[in-house]
Symmetry: C2
Subunit: 196 residues, 2 copies
């Protein structure tokens, strides 16, 4: 068939992961086969194994690449000296942006992490739990400061994250508003729902 074509300085493994994210998003991790992936990449299924160890490796590369990006952002954000409500807005915008511009991998990380194999599964779940707790802490701080209405912070976090994952529908819709408009609308509703 010919070699896997790489752009710039991306490795062949990177190319495979990128295509895998698209495929996993479309069909789901379990339903996507290595033969389909090979087709998309332009190679025979067996050839993929010159670059990767297993199908599962693809999934955890995707999941942890996303998780690391978000953890890093949160780290920075916590150190900033702005109001709690601004921190929330800032983080929401980051998530919305991620969902708009790195759609496939974020989507896969969100929806298919259950299929991770141990020890990655436990690791991922722990990171996820911790991330949400830290976000909840920001909201609780905002409640204490009377910037945010008195609500259950855990529930607020749940709403925020899942609302954002709904950008999936925006991607699928034919006639869609621009990414920027989407972002402003989401912020208006979500941040508006938190304000006193």
């Amino acid at each position: 068939m010919g070699r896997i074509k790489t752009d710039n300085n991306a490795s062949r493994k990177d190319v495979i992961i990128e295509k895998a994210a698209i495929l996993f998003k479309e069909k789901g991790f379990k339903a996507a086969s290595m033969r389909e992936l090979a087709d998309v990449v332009g190679v025979e299924a067996a050839s993929l194994y010159n670059h990767i160890k297993s199908k599962n490796e693809l999934l955890h590369e995707i999941c942890f690449s996303v998780a690391n990006r978000y953890n890093q952002k949160l780290e920075l954000l916590e150190a900033e000296s702005v109001s709690s409500l601004q921190k929330v807005e800032n983080l929401l915008r980051f998530h919305i942006d991620g969902m708009v511009h790195h759609f496939e991998e974020v989507f896969v990380s969100d929806r298919e992490w259950k299929h991770l194999s141990e020890p990655y599964l436990s690791n991922f779940q722990n990171q996820r739990r911790s991330y949400r707790k830290r976000f909840a802490a920001i909201i609780e701080e905002g409640i204490k400061n009377k910037e945010i209405k008195k609500i259950d912070a855990t529930t607020a976090v749940l709403i925020m994250f899942h609302a954002i994952s709904g950008i999936e529908s925006w991607h699928r819709s034919k006639q869609k508003i621009s990414g920027k408009e989407l972002e402003e609308n989401m912020i208006a509703i979500l941040v508006g729902g938190l304000k006193k």
Copy 2:
């Protein structure tokens, strides 16, 4: 192994569907096998086929049972003569309640419908699109009435539905607030985010 036990006036097929919803929720439709399902039901895999036609039938029974319930509710709601904002709140509460009390089937319908086979897939997608449009129309009415702030109605719908599907996290969490508290918190944030 012995016969499938049925409660009350539920058919054996109903029992299978019920167990299938639980299994599909836990492992995903593709990852769940008929042999696993048979185990849960307490029977050999082949015996399931005395009651159902295929694995796919199970999925579309689940999906359309949920879809029909929501369509019926919307029908009634549209006829009610209350304010737009109240209609929105009413529908949100219905969805929250569904997610709390009929968790497995609603979750499966929400997340696994992609695996429906034709013509059920197209049918389901059409119903879904139509449902969302009708919900968006209610919101747009509310905007015209100046009950609801000026936002993109489609985006609002997207946020609402996906926020509600986040109740999945609530089910998984160890120390959770009550269903009623959850509902009130969600309404506070979501309806609060719409109000002018």
